[in-house]
Symmetry: none
Subunit: 422 residues, 2 copies
């Protein structure tokens, strides 16, 4: 099956937003074994939308259109699809009720134009998943099909994953199964991992089997993706498990999780398993570590809370840090002990450092000290992180959590950057 992706939105053409939906969708289609040969972006213009959808239908089997499904005047995707199908639009009362109910349940007044979203091209169907107020559409045109989804990423992703991809696979009779697993790593650079895996990748190139790809993902770590294509679900699972073992044998020390796991979820689970509570003292990361951990439902089991000791006097007053310089391993250790005590937690952890743009206490931008107080151990790790303010803070977060993970596991910490333990 050949498909084509059309993103609707003048704001995309004008560069007001980056079309990150295209990359996400491209990846999902590839992982489903569906070829996507064109991504086209056009503005909210009736004629151009119609021409582009028609051309796509002509040269592909399926067309995914995103955007233009909202309640406002310039949202005309529904009308254009009806024109392409040469049919009218009929208001779907059930959808209209869902939209009304959504407003009512939030105590919000609904303006009438919202009900335009319930107008469905005749012969089309709505996508059952409807996380927002705009329903998605499945509109058959002869033996081809147009899918319409909202441009809002989380709405689009839910509809694509739960409805559009399964529908496309069914229509195209795809039987080969592509499966992939992401091994998430921290503590080694991309070229470092590439070197370690060179031999394995050469072997796979020659003998077939999985493919291995790297993807640096900032605060998410460095991802190693294994992908296999097999004749059945079972064969794919087996091949993937086998390849994962081979890769773990080589780079296992750096792998902290797989697939949907994040450094945060892994650390929270480790703590939960051991019945430990944690408290966080943050300076350079300014609340980001707490924010990441509390993003996970159920984190309240183990996370007592934290102190964002941005001003030095907050470190002295609330965390019992001795007066003096604060960009030091000593300060990181004192912060970790201080927050553990103040919040009566089992584990205290901390960050202090220089995010930039300018140096502090004579320390260069990127200097970050991480602290942990855990049982009798009070330790710090110092590292020099690359990048601008945002990146230093992001890398600081994942570096701290990896440090905590390894310490809880009783292992030595490793860092992809110059680091040493104090």
């Amino acid at each position: 099956m050949r498909c084509e992706f059309i993103a609707i939105g003048t704001e995309l053409l004008l560069g007001q937003i980056v079309n990150s939906n295209a990359a996400w969708l491209g990846e999902q289609l590839a992982l489903s074994g569906i070829d996507c040969l064109y991504h086209v972006t056009i503005g909210d213009n009736r004629q151009r939308m119609q021409d582009t959808i028609q051309q796509a239908l002509h040269r592909s089997d399926a067309v995914i259109v995103s955007g233009g499904l909202g309640p406002t005047q310039d949202d005309i995707t529904r009308e254009v699809i009806a024109d392409v199908m040469q049919v009218g639009l009929t208001r779907d009362d059930e959808i209209a009720d869902r939209i009304r109910h959504r407003f009512e349940s939030r105590g919000r007044v609904m303006s009438e134009n919202n009900l335009r979203q319930a107008d469905i091209p005749d012969g089309g169907f709505t996508i059952p998943q409807m996380p927002g107020t705009a329903p998605g559409l499945i509109c058959p045109v002869g033996d081809k099909v147009i899918y319409a989804v909202p441009g809002v990423p989380f709405e689009m992703k839910m509809m694509i994953t739960e409805c559009v991809l399964p529908d496309m696979k069914k229509r195209s009779g795809i039987t080969s199964v592509i499966k992939s697993r992401v091994l998430k790593t921290w503590g080694q650079t991309e070229s470092g991992l590439d070197e370690m895996l060179t031999e394995r990748m050469a072997y796979l190139d020659q003998n077939g089997g999985a493919t291995i790809a790297f993807q640096a993902s900032g605060i998410e770590g460095l991802k190693v993706r294994l992908t296999v294509k097999e004749v059945s679900e079972e064969a794919a699972s087996e091949a993937l498990a086998k390849e994962e073992m081979a890769v773990r044998d080589i780079i296992g020390d750096y792998i902290f999780g797989t697939d949907e796991e994040t450094m945060e979820s892994v650390v929270l689970n480790l703590l939960r398993q051991r019945n430990l509570t944690i408290a966080i003292a943050e300076s350079v990361t300014g609340g980001m570590v707490s924010a990441r951990l509390t993003a996970i439902p159920g984190s309240s089991d183990v996370l007592k809370g934290g102190i964002v000791s941005y001003a030095s006097e907050v470190k002295y007053d609330l965390l019992n840090v001795p007066n003096g310089p604060v960009v030091t391993p000593d300060c990181a250790r004192a912060m970790a002990e201080g927050v553990r005590e103040a919040l009566k937690a089992d584990v205290g952890i901390s960050t202090t450092g220089v995010a930039g743009p300018s140096e502090q206490e004579g320390q260069p931008v990127g200097t970050v000290h991480l602290g942990i107080a855990f049982g009798d151990h009070v330790e710090a790790q110092s590292t020099q992180l690359p990048g601008d303010r945002a990146r230093v803070r992001e890398y600081g977060v994942i570096s701290l959590l990896n440090f905590v993970r390894l310490k809880i596991l009783g292992r030595n910490a490793n860092t992809p950057f110059s680091g040493n333990q104090n």
Copy 2:
């Protein structure tokens, strides 16, 4: 002049990289007054490249192609453009020398295929700027033109800025200037703003002038973009200022900033101007408010820090919240007072609520109470936020900061969701 952007690269279709070049280029073209009606992404495939370039030439005056100019076998943009022009390729000795020299000067061995990059379609010219080893191309086709630039962002950007845009403007005799301004709002829904501005937009539609567009941007607020096209820089600035005044007359209460300003930067600036320091107590937002504020360089001037009082006992112990239920306006007020005192700040602010996935203390997901302690005023605002855990937290952050902004300005708070002040 109408132009079209074609990005070449299978890795873009597969989602291995995000096509951020398209957004950058779209913005540059808009700011230069050049209409760009299509962005197309295709793989490194000769036939599809040829078809797509030909179609673009047919419906536009200029085509910008990025990618496929490298030294490897699958880099075929040069050949395809020559085919479209129906000419041959001739090696440019001067360019070949520049490529050779670049390798020599870095002490690297050059493989012969690198010289393919010096093959220029007959009748075409090279772009003088050449930050990498791939020269860009200007290839006239009748009274139209194809530009080819590398896909590497910094190479592309240099060639576009220094050569392609000036060349396009010259060819098209453009003298008009496009300017836009983003008004950032919070406190009203998109359809609500749309309705308020309906009359103004109808007037502009009929009488010409600015265009108005909306863009919901989560934690960034709801953006209203005004765009004008005028004969000179001066006329554009004037028209934009006039339109901004007209729009502010209608929705001014909801506008918190413009263009590069964020809710965080606006609040920090308000505090800085008044010589006030702030401290934050977070429960439902779990550190996100602190993290957002500390993302801004120089926030340490006004931000003392915060306490993430995730567990109830942290609220009781560190913030002096009376024992009892914590998802209440009373708790929000006590938290704001408590953190102001503990961190010796001028202003204390707080969040408490239910992010989900399940209810808490009998309160539904989305219940959020915001607190502020400022001078003699200790107030709370209660709101019911829509969406999942991530969105409730994001909306909680911007709602709190907007509440703080309005209170510092001595105005009443408004919320796009059901809200009331206690």
